[in-house]
């Protein structure tokens, strides 16, 4: 079982395994793999504790009820699976501030966390507007040959390339 302790598997192997995992999800649960709806449900659960009436009358939470479902458990499973995988290989974070970020924004961890928080907010607004994220639209949508999946895949890459080059510049690229 040595391969379980390896830090990095080939992306082609990992991609194939995720593809096969999709078959499993379709056949066993009649669902496609996705993540961001479950995050939204979690936000609703948190809001329920402070403003229950507000959540119960919100049209979004009426459509996506703040409760546990297959996908919510999938996200919980991601936490466990990623934790086990990283511990098996001893793959622990080396630093709080990624070197590339540091080269552009300096060594402040607080600044990095603020950037990450803002990034997470922007990211999920986009995902919810598009109806899914890299998993639900990008992989699950595209593999079903859904038009929405491929449009999302395309616009995500165009925007990601533009943003990355604007922030980090050509000197950090090898292209």
């Amino acid at each position: 079982m040595n391969f379980l302790k390896h830090q990095r598997w080939s992306p082609y192997l990992v991609g194939s395994l995720i593809g096969i995992l999709s078959w499993f999800a379709f056949v066993t649960a009649d669902r496609a793999i996705g993540v961001s709806t479950a995050l939204a449900r979690t936000a609703g659960m948190a809001e329920l504790t402070v403003a229950p009436v507000h959540v119960q009358t919100n049209p979004y939470f009426l459509r996506f009820r703040p409760a546990v479902d297959w996908e919510w458990m999938l996200v919980l499973g991601i936490v466990l699976g990623a934790f086990v995988s990283s511990r098996l290989s001893g793959d622990k974070p080396q630093t709080d501030v990624p070197p590339l970020w540091r080269s552009r924004f300096g060594p402040s961890a607080r600044k990095r966390y603020a950037g990450a928080f803002a990034g997470g907010m922007i990211l999920i607004l986009g995902a919810r507007l598009a109806g899914g994220c890299t998993s639900g639209n990008g992989i699950s949508g595209s593999l079903q040959l859904a038009l929405s999946g491929w449009v999302f895949f395309g616009s995500l890459f165009v925007s990601g390339l533009a943003t990355a080059f604007l922030i980090y510049g050509k000197e950090n690229s090898r292209a």
Partner: protein, 180 residues
Amino acid sequence: MLDPISKILLGLVTGFFFGFFLQKGQVTKFSVIVGQFLLRDFTVLKTMLTAIVVGGVGVYALRAMGLATLHVKPAQLAAVAIGGLVFGVGMVLLGYCPGTGVAAAAEGHRDAMFGVLGMFAGSAVFAELYGFFSATVMKWFDLGPITLPELTGIPSWLIFGCLGTASILLFLKIEKLERR
């Protein structure tokens, strides 16, 4: 709970493997995600395209055997395109996407933990704006849950054949570039 207990457990098992694979694939790293958009690390593209081709061929085959039904999201073209553009900005700033961000947080990356908190906050904001978006942007150019074979009349096996061939050629080219 919105699903029966057996389905709840299946979700947990599926997620465990998904998280395990994402971590082994190293897409739980800031440098890998942002590196993709700077065209210096192609792990994300390799992983996604392989998953799409392998997953798609299998799901369409299972569907032909009557073992699977498709779950196609509506092609609300304006909302999906704008959403994708917004998503790309957030993904580069954060350095993870929702699934890989959750996995990276589990791996111990503190920035990913703040990113996931940001995702919860963003979801709450979106829930407030949903009424407006669903009456406007999400209605523009809405073609419904349509697939490429339905839209173009090209059979799915031919699309997968072309997509598979194009992916392999692209991978060979990338591998050659990376050896330089």
